[in-house]
Assembly symmetry: C2
Homo-oligomer: 348 residues x 2
């Protein structure tokens, strides 16, 4: 393969996901060059907590990671310009590609939406794991990218790096996708799996909290809000809809009792929290809710915190992908695969 450019990256946000991605970049630097002709330089990092640094000639990423691991701020980096905020970094740095990994605000898109918009307008590629912008303005941002001849990619916004959006766009290209249906939330799937073993809902939730799958306030997971956001993203980016969060009907798993689980088992079914989005005569219909899945459906066998999606297509019928739904490295990977796709598109 022929290398076409050396990517100049700016990180907007440098929390768990950003640092996970930086670890991968460092660890795989030589392999990425040899195998994919992919070369990079990190020129800027701007983070709410850690401060910011910009050096047009590139930062020593190993040094940055060492500093961050020791609790230092980016301002302590020996060279470069300090104190640039995200928008200044995006507009005025010489970065050609923005890694948008700030916090997610599903309601409005938050500052991240302006980060992505500004970057695309400035003719810079964006790779991002941030659900906010794509949930609120997928159509606008994808068109903006097209118009400016750059790419906006966000595989990690749905079930971490497990191929989902890229699966639909690339390896299923040319298929009409009629429906996507899946287990999009690991916490609730873990709880339902434990209930399948005879555990009461409250005990299963407590166990999930102990293992770090569920947060102290589990509402976002158990009420289906997290899955609802992912369904919205799939609807607007893969199914061609232009929906808002409220258009995705939602029901959580709190109404499912141990008795329900056992009755389903007797009928050869298994309760799953299913997110789905499908083409109907009246347009795209999207929802999240508990469903009894027959045991011979590939989604029925997906247990614990694992995620899975079934794509129903015109040419291939059903294709199901099963993989991790979260994790520092798993989400970091999504940024890498998106960058490699951009790198590939730059080739002749």
């Amino acid at each position: 393969m022929v290398k076409k450019m050396k990517f100049r990256l700016a990180f907007i946000g440098f929390g768990v996901v950003g640092q996970g991605f930086a670890d991968i970049l460092l660890k795989k630097e030589h392999e990425l060059k040899d195998r994919y002709g992919f070369e990079y330089e990190v020129v800027a990092i701007s983070d709410m907590k850690l401060g910011s640094v910009y050096d047009e000639d590139g930062l020593d990423l190993s040094r940055v990671m060492n500093m961050v691991n020791q609790g230092d701020r980016l301002e302590d980096y020996p060279t470069g310009i300090k104190g640039w905020d995200p928008l200044k970094t995006i507009k005025e740095s010489n970065a050609d590609t923005i890694i948008e990994v700030t916090y997610t605000d599903m309601k409005t898109g938050g500052p991240a939406l302006e980060h992505v918009r500004t970057a695309l307008k400035a003719g810079k590629h964006v790779v991002s794991t941030n659900k906010g912008p794509v949930a609120n303005a997928a159509k606008e941002l994808m068109e903006l990218a097209d118009r400016n001849g750059v790419k906006y990619r966000f595989e990690g916004t749905v079930v971490s790096g497990t191929p989902t959006i890229n699966l639909a766009w690339e390896t299923l290209a040319g298929c009409e996708i009629k429906e996507i249906k899946g287990i999009l939330n690991g916490t609730t799937n873990y709880i339902l799996s434990k209930m399948e073993e005879g555990m009461e809902y409250e005990d299963a939730l407590k166990k999930a909290q102990e293992l770090g799958y569920a947060e102290a306030d589990p509402t976002g997971d158990v009420e289906g809000i997290d899955a609802q956001g992912k369904v919205l993203i799939l609807s607007n980016t893969v199914m061609g809809a232009d929906m808002e969060l409220e258009d995705v009907a939602r029901e959580g798993i709190t109404g499912i009792s141990l008795q329900d689980v056992e009755e389903a088992k007797k009928e050869g079914h298994r309760w799953k929290l299913i997110g789905s989005t499908k083409k109907t005569e009246g347009g795209i219909e999207a929802s999240v809710g508990p469903e009894k899945i027959p045991m011979d459906h590939p989604l029925a066998g997906v247990m614990g915190p694992t995620n899975a999606l079934t794509f129903t297509t015109d040419l291939l019928g059903d294709v199901t992908i099963i993989g991790p739904g979260a994790g520092k490295m798993e989400t970091g990977f999504s940024l890498l695969v998106d960058l490699l796709a951009i790198n590939g598109a730059m080739e002749g």
Copy 2:
């Protein structure tokens, strides 16, 4: 997206798969142009049984399909040059992309190997569902493509259009793939599924033959030879090996009795014919053979003629894909997705 070229296609071979692909091209012509900026012209078809026709200005593909469906030969087409053999068509036509869909010869690669080699040397892209060339000369042909600045793609050589090779190359790019393990043969999986329901091997085989899943001589399927070829292809194209068919250890399912199936069931396991290829300290190890899979593994739930593969990776852990393993449209689709990938790589 910006259209970069209009593909000029030549079909080498025009049997079930080639005609299936032609159907898709006709049916999706407008969608492919609107959505992917993909435009094509079929300039030549050369088939052992149907004869051949070449028109540098393009053939009317609908007319060709009507003729073929009525039992006419390609020589009856009103315009163009008749009688060119595959090699002449590849070398002397103005096609820029060759659709290689002649019959498979796993032992030597057959004439198809020379077709692919000749096309790549002439600087023409090749998309193919033919296992022969890639099983016998993957390394040579991939290097030849690289050297000549063209693409050689063959998604359909492993489990039809279900994303497998493209999944590994594109949506898992950047991951180290440590092992691929899967159900690569639908016939044997159907037979084992029926045995799971209590049917004897011989009866299940007969049923598979009635349904058209198994051939009159089922050796290629039940002895694992078909799966062996797919494992070889995955080893040489995804795992970086340079193996021959004999290097893939092979055992079929004929030694599995109904008693074995029932005993496994009691232990919470299920017999599957598993093809696998993995990195070891001594290099790539590849094999096909029956394995007892624990019921909580995603491959255990894959029943009937469906295929599935689990990729074990460094960054994502296990990712499993489940989909069809055969079919006219499903295999035809693989040629389309490969062409669209080439089209995408042609964009800026």
